[in-house]
């Protein structure tokens, strides 16, 4: 625990916590892609990649907020699906409905986040169970509402965000709005993590007792993280719906992809460690990996295997890399019976 660690201490902060690893991995993947398909870096294909990757980046930011506070959000995949279906059904091709419905979607995202957060913090249900429950509920409720398959259609105005962008930019061709939105949200999240709220969030993930003793309203901070995750999922839904329209399967399995992206960025499950940039890089790496598999003409069936191996290897590498702590959190003491621990839901 207190071994001399001079070597690590000299590392620039940015290279600790896995950001370095994921950057190297990302560059490596891009290099391999470049050897396979040199034209990949000629503007338009790169922008197409950005357009495809943007939703996952946004989702990863949301998932990052929750993971860094020490929790999980498994409901985002279902939420993305639900939001796209809601949008299609309510807009039903009517341009005038676009913005009201987007507003409604954001409200719905807010509500889902609140429920996830409050059930986890106030009712003390482990977040993996809470969000597993909301995942089932959203999946079922939306399908029940639409009779099993999505109905209606998205308006062109709605689809602009995920599909179009300002054209005629030199070299790049078109800069997708999705890229702009993802970049803005990334910057926003970086600023958020530097704000008092972000610092309180990080503190909560590191040691919620100490945070509470310092005046952090742990339950509120965590609940807001869930709200953030759900809102990000809503934005991702707008981007995905815009990108490809409505299909019945939209959103499926995205929660695991998002968690994978965040963890690949070196953000530690259990909270308190990792940066927004790392999570975003993780998301880009996952998308780049999919692209790479495709460029290599790897049979699509074998892709999960390669994906699984790379995730395990990357996480093992990060956790090996000079972290002297055991992987679990500091051990839980039997609470001395006359000193109750302060915990999140006391108030």
């Amino acid at each position: 625990m207190t071994e001399p660690t001079t070597a690590r201490v000299r590392f620039p902060t940015a290279l600790r916590g896995g950001t370095g690893t994921v950057s190297v991995l990302l560059v490596l993947i891009f290099v391999v892609i470049a050897t396979q398909n040199p034209s990949f870096f000629e503007g338009p294909p790169l922008m197409a990649f950005a357009k495809k990757a943007a939703p996952l980046v946004v989702l990863a930011i949301g998932q990052y907020l929750v993971i860094v506070s020490g929790e999980f959000d498994l409901s985002v995949g279902s939420l993305v699906g639900a939001q796209v279906v809601i949008a299609a059904r309510l807009i039903d091709g009517d341009e005038a409905m676009t913005y009201p419905v987007i507003g409604l979607m954001l409200l719905f995202g807010l509500l889902v986040g609140l429920v996830n957060g409050l059930v986890t913090t106030l009712l003390r249900v482990p977040s993996i169970i809470t969000t597993l429950g909301t995942m089932l509920i959203l999946f079922g409720a939306v399908r029940y509402w639409t009779g099993g398959a999505p109905t209606g259609a998205l308006s062109e105005g709605f689809r602009v965000f995920g599909r179009h962008g300002p054209d005629g930019v030199p070299v790049l061709g078109q800069i997708p709005w999705a890229l702009v939105i993802a970049a803005l949200l990334t910057v926003g999240a970086i600023l958020l993590m530097r704000s008092p709220y972000g610092r309180s969030l990080m503190a909560t993930g590191d040691n919620d007792t100490a945070a509470a003793f310092s005046g952090v309203r742990v339950w509120r901070v965590r609940t807001l993280a869930f709200v953030g995750s759900s809102l990000m999922a809503t934005v991702a839904a707008i981007l995905i719906g815009g990108f490809a329209g409505v299909t019945a399967q939209v959103g499926e399995g995205l929660e695991f992809t998002a968690i994978t992206a965040v963890v690949l960025g070196g953000v530690v499950l259990g909270g308190g460690r990792g940066t927004v940039v790392a999570a975003v890089l993780g998301a880009l790496t996952v998308e780049a990996l999919f692209t790479l598999f495709n460029q290599l003409y790897l049979p699509s069936t074998i892709q999960p295997t390669a994906q699984g191996l790379i995730i395990i290897a990357a996480v093992a590498y990060v956790s090996r890399r000079g972290d002297p702590r055991p992987p679990t959190r500091p051990r839980r003491r039997p609470d001395p019976p006359n000193e109750r621990q302060l915990d999140s839901s006391r108030r």
Binding site: T2, P196, A212, R333, L342
Partner: protein, 504 residues
């Protein structure tokens, strides 16, 4: 004590992070003997015990058991050899039964399967041997009181057929009447020829129990002597190594605006563990909260800070009545609490020094107030924080003393009017202690009201202007600063007499 010693440690040396914490310590322990190990915090007592227990490996020196050299790479090796340790921290699994805890790692098996009955029987026997038939071997540990858990720890140590048992402050968590039980247990153990190595701060216990006393200071062996030939004053002098008064800095000339004003007043406060607490602290004053462990000192701090709420009584800060329902409200009212358990309640170990220091400013409005945040580097350097990685260094790589400075900086950044310090010098080195003491004086001079909680009586007496003595959740009395330890202890323990008289 004649004959060959049961245990002989010679020339034990140990370093952490290049700092030597033990310098060639020698110690002999005979069968049936109780050998007390005393010294200030940080003198190396716990390290020596951990070396014996196999938790740490000594860099130099040798350990002999019955004349044969032994080497313990793992606690289990030590236990197998008959050397058991009762650590200060409980090493029990709360969800398992007493018997399961006692036999953890070497469960009794009958015909290949673990035999709960047998383990329970054996545990019951061990308990009965100690005259403690009241603890059911099949009850889960989390249902037990602290004292009972302490007993389970001892039984666990005994169950190894231990010939040497070392105990690290076994009474720290016990109420007075519970200590009696421990005395009885120790007497039985000695009758059975077990050698006991005993670490305690409580001089009374040491003179009650010990045959031999070894004094450590700053990792050096100061002296080993027979308890019967030693006077308490002489022991204290050896422990401290210099006149007590010089350890603590003198009060400074007050210059704060609020000096002399009542900044914190508590009247009739109580909850399930406290009752009728009346307390007043003025600006510029350091009030010590004395009392045995578990007498309600920390509970008062937690009550004031909104961790465990007071259900009765009133609290006023700077003349305004406050209702401390949460730490957040307490902070906004101008309170600060340096908690006793630094790692679990005070620090974000994975975060930087700076992130820790600005945590309260970030958590409580006005959020992240720029002026206060900008003062933090100044506060950190005035505390002489040593962090190799600068203020971006993660806190877990700091020494205990520097960690404590981070905690102090965190609270100083809020400009508190009332500061509650719960065991502020626990587990930190002498230099850091001095820094904490000086800081307290400076704060007091600036008009801050300070409530100091400490288990180290000399510290409490040396630093406090007044002492409020607690006993079993109530205020037992108030003493002026500089009162003798005996007076304080009499008040802190005297209440038990009253209670017995009051009992129907």
């Amino acid at each position: 004590m004649t004959g060959a010693p049961l245990l002989r440690m010679t020339g034990i040396g140990k370093s952490f992070l290049g700092v030597r914490v033990l310098h060639g310590v020698d110690l002999d322990l005979h069968a049936g003997e109780l050998h007390a190990l005393v010294g200030e915090n940080g003198a190396g007592k716990s390290t020596l015990m951990k070396v014996l227990a196999g938790v740490h490996r000594a860099d130099t020196g040798r350990i002999e058991l019955d004349g044969a050299e032994v080497s313990f790479e793992h606690p289990v090796r030590a236990q197998r050899a008959g050397v058991s340790t009762v650590f200060q921290e409980f090493n029990l699994l709360p969800e398992r039964t007493v018997a399961q805890n006692v036999f953890l790692g070497r469960e009794t098996r009958t015909r290949g399967v673990v035999d709960d009955r047998a383990m329970e029987g054996a545990t019951a026997e061990l308990l009965a041997d100690l005259g403690l038939a009241g603890i059911a071997p099949w009850s889960k540990v989390r249902h037990l009181s602290v004292a009972e858990q302490q007993v389970v720890e001892i039984v666990k140590a005994l169950s190894h057929d231990a010939r040497v048992i070392s105990m690290d402050e076994p009474t720290a968590a016990l109420a007075d009447h519970e200590v009696e039980v421990l005395y009885r247990i120790i007497a039985r153990l000695r009758e059975r020829g077990v050698g006991i190595l005993y670490v305690s701060h409580r001089l009374k216990e040491i003179f009650d129990l010990a045959d031999t006393i070894t004094v450590l200071k700053d990792g050096h062996l100061v002296d080993t002597m027979a308890a019967a030939d030693t006077r308490p004053a002489e022991l204290v002098r050896k422990m401290v190594g210099r006149p007590v008064s010089s350890v603590f800095p003198d009060p400074l000339e007050p210059h704060g605006e609020r000096v002399g004003e009542v900044r914190l007043s508590v009247s009739g406060a109580g909850n399930t563990r406290l009752d009728g607490i009346d307390l007043e602290v003025r600006g510029g004053e350091i009030v010590g909260l004395a009392g045995l462990q578990g007498s309600g000192r920390t509970e008062i701090a937690h009550g004031l800070f909104g961790v465990d709420r007071f259900t009765r009584g009133e609290v006023h800060v700077d003349g305004r009545r406050i209702d401390p329902r949460s730490p957040r409200r307490a902070v906004r009212a101008g309170l600060a609490l340096v908690t006793e358990d630094r790692k679990s309640q005070g620090l974000l170990l994975d975060q930087s020094v700076l992130a820790n220091a600005r945590l309260v400013l970030d958590a409580v409005p006005p959020f992240g107030s720029g002026r206060r945040v900008r003062r933090i580097p100044g506060i950190l350097s005035s505390l002489e924080l040593v962090a190799r990685g600068g203020h971006g260094q993660e806190v877990r790589f700091l020494s205990g003393g520097n960690q404590q400075k981070v905690v102090l900086a965190k609270w100083l950044a809020t400009d508190p009017g009332v500061m509650i310090l719960d065991e502020p010098t626990r587990g930190i080195d002498v230099g850091a202690k001095q820094a904490v003491y000086s800081l307290m004086r400076e704060l007091a001079a600036a008009g801050v009201a300070i409530l100091l909680i400490s288990s180290e009586l000399p510290e409490l007496i040396g630093m406090s202007d007044r002492l409020v003595v607690l006993d079993d959740g109530r205020v037992a009395g108030e003493l002026p600063g500089g009162s003798s330890e005996e007076t304080v202890m009499a008040l802190a323990t005297g209440a038990s007499v009253h209670r017995e008289e009051a009992a129907p």
